[in-house]
Amino acid sequence: MSYTSFSYLLFFLGITYVLYTLFPKKYKYIVLLCMSYLFYIVSSSWLIVFIVLTTFIIYFSAIWIDKINSIFIDVKKNLNRDEKKNLKNKLLWQKKAVVCVMLFFCLGALIFLKYYNLFSEILNFVIFQHIHLELPYLKLLLPLGISFYTLQAISYVIDVYRGKYKADYCLPRVALYLVFFPTIVEGPIGRYDEYAYQLYEGHSFHYENLTFGCQLILWGLFKKLVIADRANLFVNVVFKSPQDYAGFAVIFSIIFYTIQIYTEFSGCMDIVRGSAQIFSVHLPQNFKQPFFSKSINEFWQRWHMTLGTWLRDYVFYSVSLSQPFKKFNQLVKNHCNGYLSKLLPATTALFFVWICNGLWHGASIKYIVYGMYYYVLMVLGMFLEPVFIKVMKIFHIHKETQYFRVFQIIRTCILVNIGMLIFRAKDLTTAWNMFLSCFRDFSLQPLSSYGLRLSDLLMIVCGVVIVFIVGVLKEKGVSIRETIAKRNIVLRWTVYFAALFIVIILGAYGRGYDAVSFIYAQF
């Protein structure tokens, strides 16, 4: 069920909201849980088994870890220092074993279902073909949102393991945290302590949350239906047969794809956050005006933020704090100068982050290269920082000047667009050929040959200008919804009705437009 469909917006969300409001406060979570499972069954039928199993696995794993912790607290009073240390070590191993078992099942399911065919292809090529063996290709079905809910599941158990919070003994709360219907398809990848309790505790009818939530959904629909799905017309034409295009056509198709994926993913997040807000549940932000970033590092702090923070907390820190890495760190400190000993450990840990980032996006070499592309950019930025500082000094360039900031933003945008080319192209060869074709044959054909009408192009441009203005206002700390809410009813409702009918009339849906599935839903 698509978040932009009538059946979701009118029936699913509408009925769930009415039931949620009518149910007594104590039982409101039951409405959310049942409707979330219904949403999952409608979208993914029997594959619901996977998410139910994951729920039980993390529920019991966290409780098991909690029990181990309580054993230590109960027993430690009667022990001397050495005994305490021994017991602590023993229990730590037990906790680690529980986490490993949990990872084996949860991550194992994700790895098997999503990456089996990629790995079997690599293994067949590297090893098995030499010994006349072949791992078969399997047609595997991927449960809805497995890449998102698996990360949420892992974060919950690891947080309990790290002692960030205690295990939750309330099974419906754990279940709802994983399966909450607005987040199941594309995230955001939430944390247990951030919103599990919000979901579970019943919220009474809240006018402001209802209206603000609906406005956020409308904004998301505007970005998805008016801009993204319209940009898709042009993007599809060029990316379907890239060999037929060069110069401006390829450059614009890459820019349009960047516009498409941003407005689509962030639009989906707005629909998701708006859907949650009408139930008075506040989800974390996933986008913070990423195209105002001055560096790639900053871009990834503003783009798909919940994935970035998840990778930081559970990959970067896990690698950095592991024993082998600590030894490596020491080795580097002993044998390298200050410059290298500062950069090598950080860049090594980052390598794992970006490999995971690339692989998370898809089971293909292309996505690994996509992750590595950003890794290389970041590492180069870190290693060459002293050179940049020197060059800036020589040319008297001040970092804080407006011109330099604009230059940095444009540079980041160009680099991101190249990344998007890798992301969208069919394979790496196509991406490379398209990249080269950007520098030749700058003739332009009529718009119709790119599947676009002038009116569609104007709509995209106007839409992007509106998104840009909203972005600038947000950067300045202006809360648009609150600002509009403070105006008189005539002006306020005029804005709302205008927005509603812009989406209904100018949306690229129905006849003449292909229904475009959310890009991130396939991950």
Binding site: M1, S2, S5, F6, S7, L10, F11, V42, F205, Y207, L210, R453, S455, W493, Y496, F497, L500, F501, I504, I505, L506, G507, Y509, G510, R511, G512, Y513
Partner: protein
């Protein structure tokens, strides 16, 4: 008390907002609804909606279905040989829900004795619930169907009422002359006892079509036109079972291939999916005899009220519309 007052105020605001919203939806629907049933006016698949232009209650037979049907059934041939008036209300990938919606439109201006439903559309896969919801939304508020007409909007769209009077020469049939043989032999019709499954929504709307026909005193005929790519015995079995249960005649021209005499080397335009003009002539020929044998239609060829059909005879089938 204050809370209660506040709640009533908030709920009234929501109510008022929704009332204004629905009024606006109606206004925009009126503006954007095509004012004629031709392509220029922007009507949805005008070929299937040419029945609006036919004289009121003048059609004997209405056929609903997808592209398989509009490639197979030639109303002008049926007129030429038997004098029965018919129209093919078929659209590309028409679902049973769309067929139901279109049939309601048909009954608003025609009183056909027979409704033929091509059965391939009953197996269209997709998000059925969304298709039904979307169908009703578009029916109630045509702005959802015709919103893209904002590009070609004219002053008359604000003032005029719809006036659907355009006729289509080929009465919904789409002429195809290409020949691309199907070389799969009889594989596609290997006799099996297994049966396909009906989706619950598809069956529900098939029942609704049946009921709508009964309410409008029209007979229903389930028809499967030859398609080597789209049809198989599992589909045949389930439709046959349903037809027997509901006492509806079912004519499968795939299994009765011998009678229809389809030659897959010459009669298909795209390797077995759709028929070309050769195949369509054979299918229509077979239907002519079948309809004459099983139903009692009047031959209108000498009736001056149907002169337009005789004049239309002069225009060739080989035109695109």
């Amino acid at each position: 008390m204050d809370n209660r007052k506040n709640l009533i105020k908030q709920l009234s605001k929501i109510g008022l907002f929704l009332v204004i919203f629905f009024i606006c939806l109606n206004v925009f629907s009126h503006i954007l609804l095509p004012k004629n049933n031709n392509k220029k006016s922007g009507i949805k698949y005008e070929n299937a909606r040419g029945f609006y232009g036919e004289r009121k209650n003048s059609l004997d037979i209405i056929a609903l279905g997808n592209s398989n049907l509009y490639s197979s059934f030639i109303p002008n041939q049926l007129w030429n040989n038997k004098g029965y008036t018919s129209y093919v209300c078929a659209e590309p990938s028409q679902t049973v829900f769309q067929a139901y919606a279109l049939l309601k439109e048909v009954f608003s201006c025609q009183k056909p004795q027979l409704v033929i439903l091509e059965t391939d559309g009953l197996f269209t896969k997709g998000d059925e619930f969304e298709q039904i919801t979307s169908m009703y939304m578009k029916e109630i508020f045509p702005v959802f169907e015709y919103h893209s007409r904002w590009r070609s909007i004219q002053i008359s769209d604000f003032t005029d009422s719809p006036h659907y009077d355009t006729t289509i020469n080929n009465k919904g049939y789409v002429y195809r002359s290409a020949v691309k043989p199907y070389k799969g032999g009889k594989k596609y019709l290997k006799k099996k006892n297994k049966r396909d499954n009906f989706n619950v929504f598809n069956q529900m709307y098939l029942d609704k079509i049946n009921q709508l026909c009964q309410e409008n005193h029209a007979s229903l005929l389930l028809l499967s036109v030859p398609s080597a790519k789209a049809w198989n015995y599992e589909k045949h079995n389930i439709i046959k079972e349903y037809a027997l249960k509901k006492n509806i005649p079912f004519l499968d021209l795939n299994t009765e291939k011998k009678q229809a005499n389809i030659d897959w080397m010459t009669d298909t335009k795209d390797k077995g999916m759709h028929l070309n003009i050769n195949g369509a002539r054979k299918v229509t020929k077979y239907l002519e005899e079948y309809l004459q044998k099983k139903y009692t239609f009047i031959d209108h060829r000498n009736d001056i009220r149907y002169d337009e059909w005789n004049r239309n005879k002069l225009k060739t089938i080989e035109s695109k519309t």
